[in-house]
């Protein structure tokens, strides 16, 4: 029905990675969820930084988090700071359409391990995973 690109995209299901998508936009939630699914990474989705904090307070943990910057209730910068203050040490990759250097610096200094500009693609996601030492690019 559609082109099968399984041969082009690595399947990381064996590594049993888990991820949390934090984004208030339904379009981005769907796409990021699907991108991770395609790579075989089990993932949950929440709508803002507070929900990301709450899910960790409930005892859930993830190997990495894809954190949007601009969100209502609690934005990505504040959520990242809060998670780090809570002692959450998992990798956090910031993703945003904002390319302003000052904003990027502020986001990184909140405690990110990596940063990517949206829109996310398979190759950008693989780049994140490589940077976070979850995937070796060949």
């Amino acid at each position: 029905m559609t082109r099968d690109i399984a041969e082009d995209v690595p399947n990381l299901a064996e590594s049993k990675l888990t991820a949390l998508v934090v984004d208030d936009n339904f379009v981005n939630q769907s796409i990021h969820h699907k991108l991770l699914d395609r790579l075989g990474i089990q993932n949950d989705v929440v709508c803002n930084g507070k929900e990301a904090v709450d899910v960790h307070c409930s005892g859930r943990n993830y190997d990495f988090i894809l954190m949007d910057m601009d969100m209502p209730v609690m934005n990505g910068i504040q959520a990242t700071k809060t998670l780090r203050e809570m002692g959450i040490e998992c990798k956090i990759a910031g993703v945003t359409t904002r390319a302003d250097e000052g904003e990027k610096k502020e986001f990184m200094e909140a405690g990110l391990n990596d940063f990517q500009e949206k829109p996310l693609t398979i190759s950008k996601l693989l780049s994140i995973l490589h940077k976070l030492n979850f995937y070796v690019q060949t």
């Binding site: 559609t2 099968d4 339904f26 991108l35 601009d70 359409t97 829109p119």
Partner: protein
């Protein structure tokens, strides 16, 4: 039957290429198509549907914010433009995204007239794209119903 399928496939290819050439779509739409698989055969149409719902809601909100000339909440408008730019960029809606860039510039200098023009333009562009993609998805359905497969189109 094969001739019908081949004709429909050709029609599909020509149509989708034209959408890229006319600037309606960019590579991000290709990324979405590549994510669609047998397990999620409606992924693209579902995501673009979410996008169009987003457009309608955000345009409505921004319109209200821009209504009163003496009392424009440019922060609210900027937030809406940012969201719209983000989601249009994520689905490959190139023209919509480009209008958002101009829209943001008008917002930054508190140009209400400019914002209103951009609002009108973005409304036009998303509705135009919606019609085009509805036609594209109908073509896909016709191909599938005729027993064919959706061609993978190489967009250069």
């Amino acid at each position: 039957m094969n001739t019908v399928v081949a004709q429909l496939q050709r029609q599909f290819q020509d149509y989708i290429v034209s959408l890229y050439q006319q600037g309606f779509l960019d590579n991000q739409f290709t990324e979405l198509r590549n994510l669609q698989d047998e397990g999620t055969p409606d992924f693209v149409s579902e995501v673009v549907s979410l996008f169009f719902d987003d457009c309608a809601k955000l345009i409505n909100n921004m319109s209200r914010s821009l209504e009163q000339p003496e009392n424009v909440d440019f922060k609210q408008v900027d937030s809406g433009v940012h969201q719209l730019k983000g989601s249009s960029s994520s689905v490959g809606a190139r023209r919509v995204k480009n209008v958002c860039i101009s829209f943001k510039e008008c917002c930054d200098v508190h140009n209400r007239e400019g914002c209103l023009r951009c609002l009108q333009q973005v409304d036009y562009e998303y509705k135009m794209l919606k019609t085009k993609l509805e036609d594209l998805f109908k073509l896909e359905q016709r191909i599938l119903q005729a027993g064919g497969t959706i061609p993978q189109v190489d967009i250069k």
